[in-house]
């Protein structure tokens, strides 16, 4: 994290990432998480000591690329499996998942 943030002890950055991640924080939590996360982020700075010039990043270790399988229906998604899946949904209407409006409910 940037030096300015660390020095200022400002914790609004925590509020910002929480907003992005759809999590609300109380003032107490904001302060607590800011302290805990700053300590961890400071530890992350260790990596700046590693010379990685010209090193390709690794995202996965299998070496596999373009894994395909036949496009066959194994478990015909009949009523039963649909009902099983929908049984976990809080609100269902006519076999569809119902959610509140994207804009404020009037």
């Amino acid at each position: 994290m940037s030096e300015e943030i660390k020095k200022s002890g400002d914790s609004t950055w925590v509020l910002n990432v929480a907003q992005l991640a759809r999590i609300e924080l109380t003032n107490v939590e904001e302060e607590k998480f800011a302290g805990q996360l700053s300590a961890v982020l400071e530890n992350f700075e260790l990596l700046s000591n590693v010379d990685t010039t010209g090193v390709e990043p690794t995202a996965q270790v299998t070496g596999l690329t373009n894994v395909f399988r036949a496009d066959e229906i194994k478990n015909p998604s009949g009523k039963e499996s649909r009902d099983d899946l929908l049984s976990n949904v809080p609100e269902v209407e006519n076999g569809s998942i119902k959610v509140p409006g994207v804009f404020e409910n009037k």
């Binding site: 990432v17 996360l37 530890n43 090193v55 990043p57 690794t58 270790v61 976990n88 959610v99 509140p100």
Partner: protein
């Protein structure tokens, strides 16, 4: 016959085939044991004894007919509560999934069922497997059977404690940065983190998808080999699973280890290692030398950067994986409460996630959101992925020379419940010896190596090359035939 709950898989399987005991008898003995020790241990989140009894009856019939399905037929297993089980609650120890009932089985669960294993229930973990103590659970902490004031380790703490307390014959866990090995070490069980992709992750709740692995926690290396034969292998539903033909892992048992080359990476024996753990490891290594292994000190210099690299990538992937939990299609939802308080869709997301994620899940999401945000991506995620390449290369080079590497699993034995809960950095640093393995993708096993003066278990980590599970089992089994640490049982009051 009594105390059937104490049996290993090997012992139980022999007795079952000889007709000396039945699956139902083993099951009843285990159920009695669970009811007795659970008030002290709290391993189980959900018990499925009625399912188990029906399965055991079927297994009994197969043995009468002389047609058991496998060496696991009739063997009771506990599943970490991150494996989807059709019709049985799967919570990931999170409030956000407290009522979630999967519509299908994870591939490994299906494999175990097809092999005749008996499902005892779902066991505790840190929420979404994030943690090293099983304290971050919405269902309360699990207690270490060797000292109930201490943690069992984590995140597969429920699995390891259940094995150590004889509440199952074996358990399945998951390991993203040590979550099988560290609890196995803290509880004196034998736990294997497999090569990335050896066991299908289909139907298993994800933490960090490029590190997540699934593996057994059992009472011996021999039992691990039996389990691995059943659960390993390609799965069309997990495109990261291996395509190679796999060996019969029990063929690595009972071998002579004369001339095996063992590397001792010095970075794992430095500052921060408890003197007692150091001594126990040195004795274990001497034991392997006396069995004919050739031991040599070596170096893995990138180890010092492993924690930072690991946590940047793990939390980045975690924040992405946990984005799917919004309570719309399943899980905790305010739609089940007072609907008039929900303003709109985004308000529902905020309410569900804020109320139902625990602290470590929230920290992970925030950390990952931060390290992946534009402007910081290169400094954190990209840099960590480059360091990952360096670590991976170091392990590849090491295994050109050595059959296995041996290190402590944890720098110290089980810590007190509550000791590190509010200090995430110190909890992360406790994973120093296990986290380098997952980015490298190689397998590693925790094997009971001894006990501290106060009677706490200490595990030794045997690290092998890519798909080198056999090499690890060979060394671990030879060690266990020459020692008795893994046979010792805790006294639970």
């Amino acid at each position: 016959m009594e105390n059937l709950y104490k049996l290993t898989i090997q012992e139980a399987s022999t007795k079952l085939k000889a007709g000396e005991i039945t699956s139902s008898k083993i099951l009843e003995s285990i159920i009695e044991r669970i009811e007795k020790v659970e008030p002290e241990i709290n391993s189980y989140i959900t018990k499925t004894f009625e399912i188990a009894r029906a399965q055991a009856k079927e297994s009994d019939k197969r043995y009468v007919d002389g047609k058991p399905l496998s060496d696991l037929d009739g063997i009771p297993v506990a599943l970490k509560d991150v494996f989807c089980t059709k019709g049985v609650k799967t919570t990931a120890a999170s409030k956000i999934l407290e009522d979630f009932i999967p519509a299908y089985d994870a591939t490994v669960v299906e494999k175990l069922e097809n092999a005749g294993a008996i499902m005892l229930g779902k066991v505790n973990t840190d929420e979404f497997t994030m943690g090293s103590s099983t304290e971050n659970s919405a269902f309360g902490p699990t207690h270490n059977p060797w000292d109930t004031s201490r943690v069992p380790g984590g995140s597969s703490g429920g699995s390891a404690a259940a094995v150590a307390a004889d509440e199952c014959l074996f358990a399945l866990g998951t390991d993203t940065g040590g979550s099988i090995r560290q609890p196995a070490s803290f509880c004196s069980a034998t736990g294997l983190k497999v090569t990335y992709g050896l066991v299908s992750r289909n139907g298993v709740v994800s933490y960090a998808s490029s590190f997540d692995t699934i593996g057994p926690i059992a009472k011996s290396a021999a039992d691990v080999a039996i389990i691995l034969n059943i659960i390993a292998g390609n799965d069309p539903l997990d495109s990261t699973t291996v395509k190679e033909k796999l060996p019969d892992y029990t063929s690595f048992l009972g071998k002579d280890i004369k001339g095996k080359k063992i590397g001792i990476p010095k970075e794992f024996y430095g500052q921060g290692l408890s003197a007692e753990v150091d001594k126990i490891l040195k004795d274990a290594i001497k034991k392997l030398e006396s069995l004919g292994a050739e031991v040599e000190e070596m170096s893995l210099p990138s180890t010092d950067f492993a924690i930072a690299m690991y946590y940047i990538i793990a939390k980045s992937e975690a924040s992405s994986n946990l984005a799917r939990y919004d309570g719309i299609r399943y899980g905790y939802s305010n739609l089940k409460k007072d609907k008039t308080k929900i303003k709109d869709l985004i308000d529902l997301y905020f309410k569900n996630r804020t109320e139902a994620f625990g602290n470590e899940a929230k920290r992970s999401i925030m950390m990952g959101t931060y390290t992946l945000s534009s402007g910081y991506f290169d400094a954190y995620y990209k840099k960590a992925s480059q360091v990952r390449s360096l670590i991976k290369r170091e392990y590849e080079d090491a295994f050109k020379k050595y059959d296995v590497l041996i290190t402590p699993v944890s720098p110290f034995p089980a810590f007190k419940i509550g000791e590190k809960l509010e200090d995430p950095l110190s909890m992360y640093l406790a994973d120093v010896n296990t986290v380098p393995i997952n980015p490298a993708g190689v397998p590693a096993m925790s094997v009971p190596a001894g006990f501290t003066s106060t009677g706490l278990p200490v595990g030794m980590q045997i690290i092998g090359p890519h798909l080198g599970e056999g090499k690890i089992i060979e060394i671990a089994d030879a060690f266990q035939r020459a020692t008795e640490h893994h046979l010792k049982k805790p006294e639970i009051k």
